[in-house]
Amino acid sequence: MADTITLEVTRYHPGRDKEPGLQTYGVPLRKEWVILDALNYVKDRLDGSLTFRWSCRMGVCGSCGMMVNGEPKLTCATFLSDYAPGPVRVEPMKNFPILRDLVVDPSDFLVKLTKSKPWLIRKEERPLAEGEYLQTPEQLDTYKQFSMCINCMLCYAACPVYGLDPLFSGPAAIALAQRYNMDSRDQGADERMDILSQHDGIWGCTFVGDCTEVCPKNVDPAGAIQQYKLTATREWVKSFLMPWQGK
């Protein structure tokens, strides 16, 4: 194995650069290094001005998502040696505005996430004295997979529909809405439905499935969206057949 590998990294300094460009760095090619280690090597030894986000280094915080050779990846979980002999191209996540170098602006995702109300909604909270809301292992299993989402936004970087239509709610926000809809302790499905069943909510999805392929936590947002379409359609049929039940 060669002892160095070339990184091609996006550099962009708004106000100074007209558009993003690539800069190359030679870094040691170590078997145990992930892309994030290589970026940190650049930052520490070669060019302190390189800007990127990271935190936990163990696939939990969801901060270090970038495009590696054109694919959305958590750079802390992507080994450098898999790209030998290189070069490896590291770019900011697609479909998001670039703030600087490898850092993107997640505001649009955060607005959409908030709109899908990913928290437990109770019509009436039980008094504390009555104890916890109990849940069986079966009830937990119905939504557990979707609760693994770490908001890394790789699915948004992968989604061609989101790339074309920024109004689309997008994979993670819908998967997280579904995570709470399927939670036996939650009573907020109607509130979420009003938002998600709008045209821009779920219906823009054409089931490309790239979101599920790139998800580092195996969440299957594409599956969640199709489930949600079925639920929304069932509600639509119900409101059509029994309009007197309308809320």
Partner: protein
Amino acid sequence: MSKRSNEPFLWLLFSAGGVVAAMLIPIQLFLFGLAFPLGWLDGPGYQSLLELVRHPLTRLYLFALCTLSLFHFAHRFRYTLYDGLQIKHLNELINTFCYGGAILGTAVTAYLLWIIP
């Protein structure tokens, strides 16, 4: 619940069409495209096939098979035009063309099944 979208209805037709097309059309194709013409199976004669098609249930089956498949096509093709060609701004024209085509196909299907002697 306030409904702001007619997408559920279109999606229902789309998914029903997908199921019907995926499950039944291969059987039709296998029987009438391969097995009968190649002599793997003894095909029904013209007269008995005509008898079969005359039966109201057969007509209903063929009607569902054709129209749902058409609506499946319409919905898929609409999004192919939206995203594939990136001409979503022409959505009214596209919707008229796609779903209008499916409605027209439905009318033709109904007519053809109706006039079977």
